[in-house]
Protein backbone atom coordinates (compact mmCIF):
# COMPACT_ATOMS: atom_id res chain seq x y z
CA UNK A 1 0.00 0.00 0.00
CA UNK A 2 0.96 3.65 0.01
CA UNK A 3 3.78 4.55 2.32
CA UNK A 4 5.04 7.42 4.39
CA UNK A 5 8.79 7.81 4.03
CA UNK A 6 10.93 9.31 6.76
CA UNK A 7 14.44 10.57 6.23
CA UNK A 8 16.84 9.99 7.89
CA UNK A 9 16.12 6.76 9.73
CA UNK A 10 18.73 7.59 12.37
CA UNK A 11 20.30 10.85 13.46
CA UNK A 12 22.88 11.60 16.14
CA UNK A 13 23.34 15.23 16.99
CA UNK A 14 25.13 17.34 19.56
CA UNK A 15 22.98 19.08 22.13
CA UNK A 16 22.23 22.63 21.08
CA UNK A 17 22.48 21.95 17.38
CA UNK A 18 19.55 22.12 14.97
CA UNK A 19 18.00 19.04 13.43
CA UNK A 20 15.42 18.66 10.70
CA UNK A 21 13.38 15.49 10.36
CA UNK A 22 11.85 14.91 6.96
CA UNK A 23 8.63 13.18 6.04
CA UNK A 24 7.25 12.37 2.61
CA UNK A 25 3.53 11.70 3.23
CA UNK A 26 1.12 9.72 1.09
CA UNK A 27 0.48 11.72 -2.05
CA UNK A 28 -3.27 12.34 -1.73
CA UNK A 29 -3.25 12.89 2.02
CA UNK A 30 -3.99 16.33 3.37
CA UNK A 31 -3.38 16.00 7.11
CA UNK A 32 0.03 15.44 8.59
CA UNK A 33 1.12 14.52 12.10
CA UNK A 34 4.19 14.06 14.22
CA UNK A 35 4.30 11.70 17.18
CA UNK A 36 7.10 11.12 19.69
CA UNK A 37 7.96 7.78 21.23
CA UNK A 38 10.56 7.44 23.95
CA UNK A 39 11.98 3.92 24.20
CA UNK A 40 9.51 1.61 25.90
CA UNK A 41 6.97 4.33 26.44
CA UNK A 42 3.77 5.60 24.97
CA UNK A 43 3.39 7.08 21.52
CA UNK A 44 2.53 10.73 22.16
CA UNK A 45 0.99 13.29 19.86
CA UNK A 46 3.10 16.34 19.06
CA UNK A 47 1.37 18.30 16.34
CA UNK A 48 -0.86 18.12 13.34
CA UNK A 49 -0.82 20.24 10.22
CA UNK A 50 -3.27 21.04 7.46
CA UNK A 51 -3.37 23.52 4.63
CA UNK A 52 -0.13 25.10 5.67
CA UNK A 53 -1.08 25.58 9.30
CA UNK A 54 -0.71 23.93 12.66
CA UNK A 55 -4.13 22.74 13.75
CA UNK A 56 -3.31 21.46 17.21
CA UNK A 57 -0.17 20.97 19.24
CA UNK A 58 0.50 19.26 22.53
CA UNK A 59 2.47 20.46 25.53
CA UNK A 60 5.38 18.36 24.21
CA UNK A 61 5.60 20.65 21.20
CA UNK A 62 8.02 23.10 22.75
CA UNK A 63 8.90 26.53 21.41
CA UNK A 64 12.06 25.01 19.96
CA UNK A 65 9.93 22.88 17.63
CA UNK A 66 8.52 24.00 14.31
CA UNK A 67 6.82 22.32 11.36
CA UNK A 68 6.30 23.28 7.76
CA UNK A 69 5.60 21.86 4.36
CA UNK A 70 6.74 24.08 1.56
CA UNK A 71 4.86 23.28 -1.66
CA UNK A 72 5.84 20.02 -3.22
CA UNK A 73 8.41 19.11 -0.61
CA UNK A 74 8.76 17.28 2.67
CA UNK A 75 6.72 17.84 5.78
CA UNK A 76 9.44 18.71 8.26
CA UNK A 77 9.91 18.84 12.00
CA UNK A 78 12.70 21.15 13.04
CA UNK A 79 14.15 21.28 16.52
CA UNK A 80 16.37 24.27 17.28
CA UNK A 81 18.16 24.03 19.62
CA UNK A 82 18.04 20.36 20.54
CA UNK A 83 18.09 19.15 24.16
CA UNK A 84 18.97 15.77 25.65
CA UNK A 85 15.32 15.03 26.38
CA UNK A 86 14.53 15.31 22.67
CA UNK A 87 16.12 11.90 22.17
CA UNK A 88 13.30 9.65 20.96
CA UNK A 89 11.81 8.09 17.87
CA UNK A 90 9.74 10.55 15.90
CA UNK A 91 6.98 9.17 13.75
CA UNK A 92 5.33 11.00 10.93
CA UNK A 93 1.81 10.08 9.86
CA UNK A 94 -0.64 11.27 7.27
CA UNK A 95 -4.34 10.86 6.58
CA UNK A 96 -6.81 11.92 3.90
CA UNK A 97 -9.14 13.48 6.41
CA UNK A 98 -9.82 13.50 10.15
CA UNK A 99 -13.16 11.75 10.02
CA UNK A 100 -13.09 8.30 8.50
CA UNK A 101 -9.75 7.64 6.91
CA UNK A 102 -6.98 5.61 8.40
CA UNK A 103 -3.58 6.91 9.26
CA UNK A 104 -0.42 5.82 7.50
CA UNK A 105 2.68 5.95 9.67
CA UNK A 106 6.30 6.13 8.63
CA UNK A 107 8.99 3.91 10.09
CA UNK A 108 10.31 6.64 12.31
CA UNK A 109 13.47 8.67 12.76
CA UNK A 110 15.56 7.63 15.73
CA UNK A 111 17.06 10.81 17.14
CA UNK A 112 19.85 10.71 19.67
CA UNK A 113 20.97 13.99 21.21
CA UNK A 114 24.33 13.73 22.94
Amino acid sequence: GPKVLQIPSHQIIDMGQMVTLNCDPVSNHLYFYWYKQILGQQMEFLVNFYNGKVMEKSKLFKDQFSVERPDGSYFTLKIQPTALEDSAVYFCASSRDTANSDYTFGSGTRLLVI
Binding site: M43, E56, Y103, G108
Partner: protein, 114 residues
Protein backbone atom coordinates in the same frame (compact mmCIF):
# COMPACT_ATOMS: atom_id res chain seq x y z
CA UNK B 1 -9.34 13.90 30.18
CA UNK B 2 -9.44 11.09 27.69
CA UNK B 3 -7.43 8.00 28.55
CA UNK B 4 -6.66 4.68 26.96
CA UNK B 5 -5.68 1.81 29.20
CA UNK B 6 -4.02 -1.41 28.12
CA UNK B 7 -3.89 -3.48 31.25
CA UNK B 8 -1.33 -6.04 30.09
CA UNK B 9 2.16 -4.80 29.34
CA UNK B 10 3.29 -8.25 28.16
CA UNK B 11 1.43 -11.31 26.92
CA UNK B 12 3.15 -14.59 26.05
CA UNK B 13 1.39 -17.40 24.20
CA UNK B 14 2.31 -20.38 22.07
CA UNK B 15 1.85 -20.58 18.34
CA UNK B 16 -1.68 -21.72 17.55
CA UNK B 17 -3.12 -20.36 20.79
CA UNK B 18 -5.88 -17.79 20.86
CA UNK B 19 -5.12 -14.41 22.37
CA UNK B 20 -7.03 -11.40 23.64
CA UNK B 21 -5.35 -8.04 24.16
CA UNK B 22 -7.33 -5.72 26.36
CA UNK B 23 -8.12 -2.06 25.83
CA UNK B 24 -10.33 0.19 27.93
CA UNK B 25 -10.98 3.84 27.36
CA UNK B 26 -12.54 6.69 29.23
CA UNK B 27 -14.40 9.25 27.22
CA UNK B 28 -18.08 10.02 27.21
CA UNK B 29 -18.53 11.33 23.71
CA UNK B 30 -18.32 9.97 20.19
CA UNK B 31 -15.04 8.33 19.34
CA UNK B 32 -13.19 6.16 16.88
CA UNK B 33 -11.30 3.21 18.27
CA UNK B 34 -8.47 1.52 16.47
CA UNK B 35 -5.64 -0.93 16.90
CA UNK B 36 -2.14 -0.65 15.48
CA UNK B 37 0.72 -3.11 15.39
CA UNK B 38 4.38 -2.17 15.68
CA UNK B 39 7.03 -4.71 14.78
CA UNK B 40 10.43 -4.11 16.34
CA UNK B 41 12.19 -1.21 14.68
CA UNK B 42 9.28 -0.30 12.45
CA UNK B 43 6.43 2.17 12.37
CA UNK B 44 2.84 1.51 13.25
CA UNK B 45 0.59 -0.43 10.92
CA UNK B 46 -3.15 -0.10 11.02
CA UNK B 47 -5.06 -3.26 12.00
CA UNK B 48 -8.70 -2.26 12.34
CA UNK B 49 -11.09 0.40 13.57
CA UNK B 50 -14.59 0.90 14.95
CA UNK B 51 -16.91 3.85 14.86
CA UNK B 52 -20.44 2.52 14.64
CA UNK B 53 -22.49 -0.45 13.52
CA UNK B 54 -21.54 -4.06 14.16
CA UNK B 55 -19.51 -4.03 17.38
CA UNK B 56 -17.27 -6.82 16.08
CA UNK B 57 -14.90 -5.57 13.43
CA UNK B 58 -12.56 -7.62 11.31
CA UNK B 59 -9.03 -6.57 10.53
CA UNK B 60 -6.03 -7.84 8.67
CA UNK B 61 -4.30 -11.15 9.32
CA UNK B 62 -7.23 -12.72 11.18
CA UNK B 63 -7.50 -10.10 13.91
CA UNK B 64 -10.83 -8.88 15.15
CA UNK B 65 -11.95 -6.55 17.91
CA UNK B 66 -15.16 -6.09 19.80
CA UNK B 67 -16.51 -2.80 21.03
CA UNK B 68 -18.48 -2.71 24.26
CA UNK B 69 -20.02 0.58 25.31
CA UNK B 70 -21.09 -0.76 28.69
CA UNK B 71 -17.54 -1.89 29.49
CA UNK B 72 -15.83 0.98 27.65
CA UNK B 73 -13.69 -1.62 25.98
CA UNK B 74 -12.32 -2.52 22.59
CA UNK B 75 -10.43 -5.78 23.04
CA UNK B 76 -8.41 -7.29 20.22
CA UNK B 77 -8.56 -11.01 19.53
CA UNK B 78 -7.05 -13.62 17.31
CA UNK B 79 -8.13 -17.26 17.22
CA UNK B 80 -4.77 -18.79 16.29
CA UNK B 81 -1.57 -16.77 16.52
CA UNK B 82 1.55 -17.18 14.43
CA UNK B 83 5.10 -16.40 15.47
CA UNK B 84 5.03 -13.42 13.11
CA UNK B 85 2.32 -11.86 15.27
CA UNK B 86 4.98 -11.10 17.88
CA UNK B 87 4.96 -7.30 18.13
CA UNK B 88 3.71 -4.40 20.21
CA UNK B 89 0.00 -3.66 19.86
CA UNK B 90 -1.37 -0.20 20.48
CA UNK B 91 -4.97 0.71 21.09
CA UNK B 92 -5.88 4.25 20.08
CA UNK B 93 -8.81 6.62 20.47
CA UNK B 94 -9.70 9.49 18.20
CA UNK B 95 -12.38 11.89 19.28
CA UNK B 96 -14.78 12.69 16.46
CA UNK B 97 -14.84 16.26 15.36
CA UNK B 98 -11.39 17.04 16.63
CA UNK B 99 -8.27 17.65 14.64
CA UNK B 100 -7.51 14.00 14.13
CA UNK B 101 -5.21 13.53 17.11
CA UNK B 102 -4.82 9.92 18.23
CA UNK B 103 -4.49 9.09 21.91
CA UNK B 104 -2.58 5.87 22.38
CA UNK B 105 -2.43 3.33 25.15
CA UNK B 106 0.94 2.24 26.50
CA UNK B 107 0.97 -0.82 24.27
CA UNK B 108 0.97 -4.57 24.87
CA UNK B 109 3.95 -6.63 23.83
CA UNK B 110 2.80 -9.95 22.43
CA UNK B 111 5.35 -12.73 22.32
CA UNK B 112 4.43 -15.86 20.43
CA UNK B 113 6.59 -18.85 21.26
CA UNK B 114 7.03 -21.77 18.86
Amino acid sequence: TQTVSQSDAHVTVFEGDSVELRCNYSYGGSIYLSWYIQHHGHGLQFLLKYYSGNPVVQGVNGFEAEFSKSDSSFHLRKASVHWSDSAVYFCAVRITGNTGKLIFGLGTTLQVQP
